[in-house]
């Protein structure tokens, strides 16, 4: 039945048409899409509660269509980040003071508050370019480059992908790779991992030793990604995709701005510096330190089910790496068209990850230093939930507009065995809530 539906009838039809019209051999048809520009633009606001990170992101993607289904896609993203992010130190029942990353000034956190570094603000510019074209009748080839720049960060990347259709285009196999080199030039220099946060340097205080010990040069990391995928048309309503990807990162992966509290082994309280410095950290804090290699494996599977114009899109991703982080992501979208030119799309995303093996809330005073340690919540055990709704419609000019509102909530989980003394009564890992609003506009020219 299936094979019958997709057999080629071109020959029979051409012969029958020739008989009907009595026309002799005609020139073969020549028609292509007009080389045109399509634009896909969006403005996104991401805002975390409690004055934490706010991001305003403007994206513009333009695609130029050439004859013979060749496309050039060029993208530009501008991000403006402001707000504060946790510096890794634990909240305490007394105020805490920290040296700023610049090493010149200090900032303080009130008693009972999660320490946040409020110097966090940055602009980011990212550009991408991608060329896609068919190779023969069954292959598609894709090559691209990317670059992004922040004041302390530079990313350069290249990628390529090839895919081939099989089985009367019901099956597509693809293979791709991406390489990138990222360079980090932290403000105030790169701190050495697992060394103490030092006093802010006064202009008249020449502490040459400290400068030399603490601040290293710029750092780099190299990233290699390999992905293999298969897309299968299962039935007239169901499309399934499965892909495996491997990612290897080598080089500097520590967050140079993150620290970790040193605590008393009995009370769990941060160890104060005595006498309290006039212009430096109030307690003992170490700069975090992460391994310089990371290998990730991930398996992704997606199903799209079409029902009378409605589309159910379900995906699941499993990721595991040699930092011992395992994560599961389930993503559900349901596109529900109505009224001919509008649709609603509810979205639900569930995320759960286990902690990295070197993740720890704090270091115990007097214990030997571990090789690696980080108190960055993003490497901890947490669950996250995203709930959203998108509304899209066609404008009278035939262009597409959409608005999307999503709520994100993240709650960390710290096993009680990790907690020492007074840490038990504190909210060491407060929930994070964020709101996402996006406006999208697609138009052609």
């Amino acid at each position: 039945m299936k094979a019958k539906n997709k057999k080629s009838i071109t020959g029979t039809l051409a012969a029958a048409t020739c008989t009907l019209l009595g026309s002799s051999a005609l020139e073969p048809v020549q028609a292509q899409e007009d080389p045109g520009w399509d634009f896909n633009t969006s403005l996104l606001y991401y805002g975390e509660d409690n004055d934490r990170v706010q991001d305003l992101s403007l994206k513009a993607l333009t695609r130029r269509t050439f004859v013979d289904d060749r496309f050039l896609t060029v993208g530009l993203t501008l991000d403006s980040l402001t707000g504060a992010s946790p510096n890794g130190a634990l909240p305490q029942s007394v105020p805490q003071t920290f040296t700023r990353p610049s090493g010149r000034k200090t900032y303080s956190t009130a008693a009972g508050q999660l320490p946040l570094d409020d110097t966090f603000h940055d602009s980011r510019v990212a550009v991408t370019a991608n060329w896609q074209q068919p190779l023969g009748r069954l292959y598609q080839f894709n090559v691209g480059a990317s670059a992004s720049k922040e004041f302390d960060y530079l990313h350069l990347g290249l990628n390529a992908k090839i895919s081939r259709d099989f089985n009367q285009r019901n099956t597509t196999l693809s293979a791709g790779f991406a390489v990138a080199q990222d360079e980090l030039d932290p403000i105030g220099g790169t701190p050495t991992g697992l060394t103490l946060m030092l006093d802010a340097a006064d202009d008249d205080d020449d502490d040459d030793d400290d400068e030399g010990r603490r601040k290293g040069p710029r750092e780099t990391k190299d990233i290699l990604d390999i992905v293999f995928g298969v897309t299968q048309v299962v039935s007239r309503n169901l499309l399934v995709q499965v892909s495996y990807s491997y990612s290897d990162t080598s080089g500097y992966q520590t967050d140079p701005y993150k620290i970790i509290s040193v605590v008393d082994g009995t009370t769990g309280d941060a160890v104060p510096v005595i006498p309290a410095p006039s212009n430096g950290p109030s307690h003992l804090y170490y700069f975090e330190h992460r391994p310089d290699s990371r290998a990730k494996h991930s398996l992704y599977t997606q199903g799209k089910y079409y029902m009378d114009g409605k589309v159910l899109d379900v995906s699941y991703r499993y990721m595991t790496d040699d930092w011992e982080i395992d994560s599961h992501t389930v993503d559900l979208r349901f596109r529900w068209p109505f009224g001919g030119s509008s649709y609603l799309e509810p979205h639900l995303r569930l995320y759960s990850q286990t902690a990295a093996d070197f993740y720890r809330l704090s270091l115990i005073n007097g214990d030997p230093l571990p090789e690696y340690a980080s108190a960055d919540h993003r490497l901890g055990d947490f669950d996250a939930l995203t709930v959203g709704l998108k509304y899209g419609w066609k404008t009278s000019g035939g262009n597409d507009m959409s608005v999307r509102l999503e709520l994100y909530t993240q709650s960390g989980d710290i096993s009680s065995s990790q907690l020492i003394g007074n840490q038990l009564g504190r909210d060491n890992y407060p929930d994070l809530n964020a709101i996402i609003f996006q406006f999208g506009y697609q138009f052609g020219k």
Partner: protein, 306 residues
């Protein structure tokens, strides 16, 4: 007939780099674009095209009394002898019936009594469709050229191929009448006769979202050959949130589920393009797979579905 004659005028006007002749036929605006700086010649060529369009319309329209289609449809079961051109169209339709496994059927026109695609929610009842389906089915007809005998109550309708046929017929006449590059366009079904000289191509606007994932109107560049579109964003019914497109499956009497809103196909002739787009529509959700297997260039609009 009087009104019809009144409507049968030709207007010729100058466009950028070519002359355009316009007229109305088969309930569609029709035009002939001639790459020439001579309104007289443009009018002569347009008249050739228009005359052929009106001839095909008069001969095969199921709305006109006294023509061959009308005589067949009112034969009440009696055999009718048809002329050579009609016989060729019937032969062609029989081939399409076989190629589509019975889903394309020139006897399915009677279903139009039940289905009015006006954007409303007037879905006919299942018993009503079953009732009319007893008059649908080419296998029930007896065709032994030049004699056609339909069962009582059955009708034929060349609506599915007539316009494309007229475009190709007119294009053939133009090829004989002139060496110019022309575009013949009957309401979106069109043929470019010869490659244009003063321009790279003719620009044709279509609705499409695939293969371009970014939606919107697409402009096609046509140098030579035929383009035809099946489906119409304005002709549909909505009931219980199901959108029924206006392509009816002659096997079921119902619109094809999950069909694209429109499909445009490029082929050597307008007729081939039109048939491929219609047969693809009948494949519903598998329209694109069907077209891929035909190795033709196509543009498919699935609206918000994609």
């Amino acid at each position: 007939m009087k009104n019809r004659d009144l409507q049968r005028g030709i207007i010729v006007d100058q466009q950028e780099g070519y002359w355009r002749g316009q007229f109305s036929a088969m309930a569609s605006p029709c035009e002939v674009l001639c790459e020439i700086d001579d309104p007289g010649e443009a009018e002569r060529l347009t008249r050739i095209v228009a005359t052929e369009a009106w001839r095909v319309e008069d001969k095969f329209s199921r709305y006109l009394r006294g023509n061959i289609v009308n005589r067949i449809n009112e034969a009440n079961g009696a055999p009718i002898e048809v002329d050579a051109e009609t016989a060729q169209l019937i032969d062609f339709s029989t081939t399409l019936y076989d190629l589509s496994n019975g889903r394309f059927d020139i006897t399915s026109g009677v279903l139009r009594r039940l289905w009015t695609f006006d954007g409303s929610s007037n879905i006919p009842s299942r018993p009503a469709v079953r009732g009319v389906m007893q008059y649908v089915g080419w296998k029930r007809a007896t065709w032994q050229a030049p004699i056609l005998q339909l069962k009582r109550g059955m009708e034929i309708d060349f609506g599915g191929i007539g316009k494309e046929y007229a475009v190709d017929r007119a294009a053939n006449l133009l090829r004989d009448a002139s060496a110019l590059a022309c575009l013949v366009n009957f309401g979106g079904d069109l043929v470019a006769v010869r490659k244009p000289c003063a321009r790279d191509d003719w620009k044709v606007g279509i609705e499409a979202t695939v293969p371009s994932r970014i939606a919107g109107k697409k402009i096609l560049n046509l140098q030579v050959g035929g383009l035809a579109t099946s489906g119409d964003a304005r002709r549909f019914l909505i009931s219980n949130d199901i959108r029924y497109g206006h392509i009816l499956d002659a096997l079921t009497g119902w619109p094809v589920p999950d069909a694209p809103r429109s499909i445009t196909v490029a082929a050597d002739t307008c007729t081939q393009a039109g048939i491929l787009s219609t047969l693809a529509m009948l494949e519903g959700a598998q329209a694109e797979q069907f077209l891929n297997a035909q190795a033709v260039r196509y543009w498919c609009d699935r609206g918000n579905d994609s």
